[in-house]
């Protein structure tokens, strides 16, 4: 089952990315690329020659594979398919795994010597550190007190604590998947980009691996978000997927990118929401 889950996520990840891009373009009055453009882009990149900066270390050469491996592991541990064995990967381990992926990506960026990549690495680590408490607390708040299993996410009753945890997690998604108002996937203006800046020096199959990994990560985050929403049975959670995608695209259309040093305020808001969520989850019984 878990293999089916991984294959499905891998196969659909570029489609989800394409769909969000298309809807966003339509909302902004542009025709936008076709739904399957992302697949064509990846195929094109695979056919191209890969160029790397002349001084890079083996770490950077290995980075695309490592990052893809992290993304696939993320997809594999999501609580969709019923698993036959006890999943050792809990919420804490997942958060630390994602941090490890960031560790490798940013080191690879610094290795290329490009100042733009260095700038992106600096910002990625900064916001990554600021987002980490929110990510952990929102997931813990959604899972309920003492529960750390990812599987618990889909079974906990929703209610106000769940809504707060979801709102906090939404901020995390915006940051982790490089969305407006924190980052902008569409921009190639060097001074503003974070995620794109990290990938600036990659090309060919290495860029394809990096881009594919970020598609998978994005879909995995979306699936975690729908797991937080209420549903009659675990499988029905996935029906929320279009809603969450639309919400993200809506935010991207309605809001402009924030100035860099205003982003911490947004992240702080998410953090406070996550604290409120977990507090209410634990004390819900005798506070409400």
């Amino acid at each position: 089952m878990i293999v089916v889950q991984v294959i499905a996520i891998l196969a659909l990840a570029p489609l989800v990315q394409g769909a969000m891009k298309r809807v966003r373009a339509n909302l902004q009055g542009r025709p936008g690329p076709g739904l399957f453009q992302r697949y064509r882009d990846l195929r094109k990149l695979l056919g191209k020659e890969a160029l790397l900066p002349d001084v890079v270390s083996p770490l950077t050469v290995a980075a695309p594979g490592v990052v893809l491996g992290v993304a696939v592991t993320f997809a594999a541990v999501l609580p969709i398919a019923p698993v036959a064995f006890a999943n050792p990967v809990d919420i804490v381990a997942l958060v630390l795994l994602l941090a490890a992926g960031r560790f490798v990506t940013t080191l690879a960026a610094l290795d290329t010597r490009s100042s733009f990549a260095g700038m992106a690495a600096s910002r990625e680590m900064t916001f990554g550190a600021l987002v980490e408490p929110t990510l952990l607390l929102s997931l813990l708040g959604a899972a309920g007190a003492g529960g750390t299993q990812l599987g618990a996410l889909a079974h906990t009753p929703f209610g106000l604590p769940g809504a707060l945890a979801l709102a906090a997690f939404f901020v995390v998604i915006l940051a982790e998947t490089a969305r407006v108002p924190i980052d902008n996937q569409e921009t190639h203006y060097e001074l503003t980009m974070i995620h794109e800046g990290l990938l600036l020096e990659f090309s060919g199959w290495q860029l394809a691996a990096m881009e594919f990994a970020s598609d998978i990560r994005q879909l995995a985050f979306l699936i975690l978000a729908v797991a937080l929403l209420p549903a009659p049975s675990p499988a029905f959670h996935l029906l929320w997927l279009p809603v969450v995608m639309a919400a993200i695209v809506g935010v991207e259309t309605l809001f402009a990118k924030m100035r860099l040093f205003e982003v911490p305020q947004l992240l702080l808001t998410g953090f406070i929401l996550s604290i409120a969520g977990i507090g209410l989850r634990i004390f819900g019984g005798h506070l409400l």
Partner: protein, 625 residues
Amino acid sequence: MILRLLGVGTTLAVAVVAAYLAVLAFALGPGMDCTFLVLSAPAPMLDILVGLDGFAAPFLALLALLSAVVALWNVQRGRPADSVLIAAFTAAMLLVLTARSVACFFLAWEAMSLISTFLIAAHHERRYVRRATFTYLAVAQSGALCILAALVLLAVQTGSPEFGTIAQRAAQLPLGLRTVVFGLALVGFGSKAGLMPLHFWLPRAHPVAPAGASALLSGAMLKVALFGLAITALQLAAPAPAGWGIALIAIGMLTALGGILYAVVDRDLKRLLAYSSVENVGIIVAALGVAIVGHALENPLVANLALTAALFAICNHAIFKALLFLCAGTIAESEGTSELERLGGLRRSLRWTTPLFFIGCASIAGVPAFNGFVSEWLLFRSLIALLAAGDDAVTWVAIAAIAALALTAGLAAACFVKVFGVAFLGAPRHSRPRPPEEFGPATAGVAILAALCVAVGLAPEVVAAPLALTARNAFGDSLAFARLLTSLPPLPITLALLPLLGGALSLALAARRADRRVPAWTCGSPVTPASQYTATAFSKPLRTIFAFVLLPGRSRRIETGGSTWFPSKIVYRTSNRYLIDEFARTLAGVTLVLARRSRAVQSGSLRLYLAYALAALVLAVAVAR
């Protein structure tokens, strides 16, 4: 030569003895201790007793490991005289860990403090080294007085100087008295371990010592201080109420956050490592606090889990911080500086140190498959278990601690991405070619530590099992904990398997395809070493966001020369203010002024001194009546 042989030989002997004692101590069951009278003093209160206690086992094992590695280091590096001092230093630490009476512990502690002072003063020809030594000595001696007061209070109140007896009788002492003892111990041991706000000596003193000594100071001596704090709270002044634990969690988390914030903006590699030690000590103390709270709430799961996490973090920090400090020594030797802005592209000249240092960075950043990940996971799990422990106030403390720990972990990752990225990756910031690094005994010693980082990271149960046993001896059995531990072994490999496989495939594919290498693209301008991102630039966003703690200041001077439009030179300076250090400096200044004033009573006249003696005698008789 003979001096070096003596130093290395003695250090190795200490390592062997410590390893042997560690094995014996691990074999001791709960409540068992063996104590030997070494020296019977005229007053029984001053008896010198040594012995073994199960709790000392992990610390002895660490001391054995680090002594052996530093002995290997000293075969090749460092001055011969330093290697002898290091041998004495390790012996003193061994004595602290095996001391079982008040007098013995205090004498060993003082020996450890004084010998480490000589190590810190190794390069005393420089003024800042002398200042650091003086600061260290002042803090160490003030701390030692607090420790002495705490131990003497316990000995007098229980009527025995022996640790075993004190631990048995401590429960009958009033809570107020025990809290005073705990507070004194917290100040005394905390100042030695680098707990904020008494940490200010540490980032000055640790970096100026020779590399081998820095590794022992950060890797072993901080752990000995934590050992003292732990046995005071868990044995000598036990049972610990939840309040102590909450105090430790609060102080520990603030120390961790403060330490890593100062580390992430620091520009000197060694000082950065020292601040990161402050952070790690904070995390360990917080874990100890969680264990105490768990025990006080009669929750054996939390208590066992948190103490195992604390001991695991102690082991991990000893291993990777010693590794990083030794590598920093290699860097300083080869480059002549440890300033990050002058380093760059070290991987080309330091071909052995680079992978070793990377392993250290990945471990400290908590990357799965390296050892730092395991203790971080255990500590998070203990805090999450504490959430459900039932006490309202404790739950909020746990939530705050989870948030603080997650932020600390994120900042630590940023910090070590900065260190490795700026110093080792990219291209050198100078054009002087360096001779390629050679593999020697010193490198072998560091490689042992790196191998342990990976081995413990991949097979955590090897270390977790004995540590869990030590925790169980302290807190009793917990079925839930035993069950939780079974989910630990498959965790690192589950997380790391696909990334490692992907990385290997990526490398293989790149090697087969032989893709072209081209200069990096920076909008058409040539890529010079100066255009690489610097450590200051990397930490700039964090410096801005946490300006309310770091209080950064900057000045910019633009020299335009003859032209109105084109500046000939821009000088940009940035600095942080260290409020606690400023406060300490003020305090030191006031103390010195008072000391100078009190010189008035020292006239040098014999008759006056006799009058003092008489006055003291009269006073003593009056008080005694």
